[in-house]
Amino acid sequence: MINLQTCDVAVIGAGAAGLAAGAECAARGLSTVIIDREPLAGGILRQCIHNGFGVQYFKEELTGPEYAVRITEAALAAGAELKLDATVSEIKRLPDGAFELLILSAKDGVSRLTARAVLLAMGCRERNRGNIATPGTRPAGVFTAGAAQRLLNMEGMLPGTSAVIVGSGDIGLIMARRLTWCGIPVKAVVEIMPEPSGLPRNVVQCLHDFDIPLYLEHAVTNIFGRERVEGVEAAPLKNGVPQPDQAFRIDCDTVLFSVGLLPENELSCKLGVEINPATGGAIVDETLQTGVPGVFAGGNVLHVHDLADFASAEGKRAANGIVRYLNGGQKPSGCRVTAGANLKYAVPNSFSPGTKTEFSFRPLIACDRAVLEAEQNGSVIWRKDLKFIRPAEMLNIELEAGAGELLFNLRSKE
């Protein structure tokens, strides 16, 4: 038997973004179902047992699980329904503009959920060894940083006895400290870029405080060991090319990869949502609606945030967009937004003239003093001085502009 259910809003993913959005939708009187594959709501926050969460969103410093519980309770209190241990295996748009989701779970079996609007909040997956084609053998002991974090913090299992971390993403940095605390020496963090890719505070608190060597502009060029990892080879990079004559070996039995996150947009693609190659997430207007009417996106599935708080805030904004859409609001006739000099991307990709809009950017440069400018019809209409620009840190601004394409440029003042 296939269960049938209808609702106003189906939220796919019960992480920082999906729960915030679900809470808001439910609070605004919409029947809301939040679906997640995990048996507990909260997404990756559940395995992030360190603190540093919630300062923006809850005005209070919390651990990941505390943040997860807080935001889950808010969603439940607002009246959202949580479907956990449940996987959305198919999704399609019906001729009347509603959506049909096929959901599998051990508890309920097969369910068809019809929703008037969908929020994509599936988050990210980690890039792995295969994605960066690290050469060498294929022994046990190679993990993504997040997979090792889950094993350690949720299952209580130690991934190895000595480690090298490839890449300096935040999860990798957090794991460097976590492993050290567990008695697993971290021999090195190896980063191909000249700057760490994680947040500066994590570099200080997780590496410097524990004297863990950080090799910038270095690559792991080989993995050794036939059954279990026995070591890696690292080499400095010159113009992006590893220098074999300066390569050195580091013995370890564990290699963690923390080499970036990829938005999980497989379901979005099934709906025909157009993806922005710069973010890996959907192309959206200022209400966070994708190109498919009724489909919204927020959080890491839209673009990779550096704080869970920002993902929640974005989820809440998407919820506002959904409320507007379900109340018959017209799709905004947007003006285009373009990321110009020194910016990897801008979100959203369009805005409505005369409406206050929140924009997010990812800088491509590192500098201590910079200016962000908005250009329209050939002249600068807005500017803001910024301090301490790092690619690891997202820029968020609010701006109301008139009609015309908006071009953002980030310029160093050094």
Binding site: M1, I2, R37, D85, T87, S89, L102, L104, S105, A106, K107, D108, G109, V110, R112, R125, E126, N128, R129, G130, N131, A133, P135, G136, T137, R138, P139, A140, G141, F143, T144, G146, A147, R150, L151, L152, M154, E155, G156, M157, L158, P159, G160, T161, W181, C182, G183, I184, P185, T221, N222, R226, E227, R228, D253, T254, C269
Partner: protein, 479 residues
Amino acid sequence: MYDAAIIGAGVSGVATAWQLSHYELRVALLEQCADVGFGVSKANSGIIHAGFHHPAGSLKAKLEIRGNLMFEKLQYELGFPFRRDGILVVAFSPEEMATVQKLYAQGVANGLRNLEMCGRERLLQLEPKLNHEVVGGFFAPGGGTIEPYRYVFSMVESARKNGLELYCGFKVEHGAFDGKHWTLAAANGKTIQARYVVNAAGLFADEVSRNCGAEDFKITPRKGEEYLLDRESPARPRRVIFPVPTKTSKGVLVIPTAEGTTMIGPTAESTDDKGDVSTSADRMKQIVAQVRQMVDGISARDIITSFAGLRPALETEDFYIELSKKAPNFVQVAGIQSPGLTAAPAIGEYVKDLLRNAGLRLVEKNGDHTLPRRHEIRHETPESLAALHQDDPRWTHVVCRCENISEAEIIEAVRHGHTTLDGIKFYTRAGMGRCQGGFCSARIMMIVSRETGIPMERLTKKGGASHLLAGKLGSMEVK
């Protein structure tokens, strides 16, 4: 006492065991690894060759063509993934076209009646993903693709259902014939006695032969690196695409795998290390550059994983399948590199006939060799999933999100004896998708531990010392 002992549970040993399981015989299959098919058979291109690559008169050509014809029946009985979508051999210059014509003629001489010479237009019609600079080539509709480990696993499963006894972790170190029977001794001290021995030890067939007092020959590993592309890669072709071959290999191919992904490779490089299955940055660049000449939509960005396999090459470059002239009741099955996967069912028959000629009495058994259809939730309709859920709720508990594999499928793998992470991956595809086990490995480990009682820290990736974890939190001293 066994009637026959087969050394090596790779595709040729397993195909032999499967053939013998049709007769009233007691057969032992001895494998040094933790699971079957874990050597040469798991790491290759998974091609069912069409019969034009090897000259008439060679054992390779004979068994390849015979084997090729057996796949529909095998698939019907055993249910492994197999697609006969055809092979294209493509040329990009008049010189290459000359080789194409020679290959075509060789195929015709081998008795192939369905080869089709193609000009550019016809090739692009057959395969729109081809680089438009293609000059010509031919189409071999009899070629196809297979999931090699599934093929090996299913033959073992069927043979075991019919009495085959499997010993994993049995590395034959010594064999002696006492005039009546063989005694095979393993590294772990165990021994097995059998009247006949089949040496199908793959890369190690030369060592086994020597340790049993049979012929002296040398297997030279020839490494092939392969790269797997994301399921959504826009470059996935409809058919297997071959370049014109070189002296030592059939070239670097573009392979639409039987399970819907795309693979590129293999390289061909001799090595003297039978354990070296490492990949290298240079080879990856070389492969990508070579396949992009054939299918320009391929991108290194779509690579999700890589692996290398070793071909057990003999100097003669032909299969070596015959009764030993030195050791009694001992059959050599060596040098089974490409097209070994295709030829394997015919190799099994051929070895069976050699054993019969050597005096093994074959009495047909009234067995059932067909395997029940396996449920895989990625192929089920919502209605049949709902019915499966009624039987066992774990059918609708999705464990591997990328390849859509349920907990019930993982449990089936465990119940069929696959308890390593790689064994479960090959049996179910869990962990084979784009996240490469990032999300599901921990879940799978917990299921295996629960089902087998093996503690988490004793679970391995592929047997031996390939432990996945170091221990429980709190079990290590902080230095």
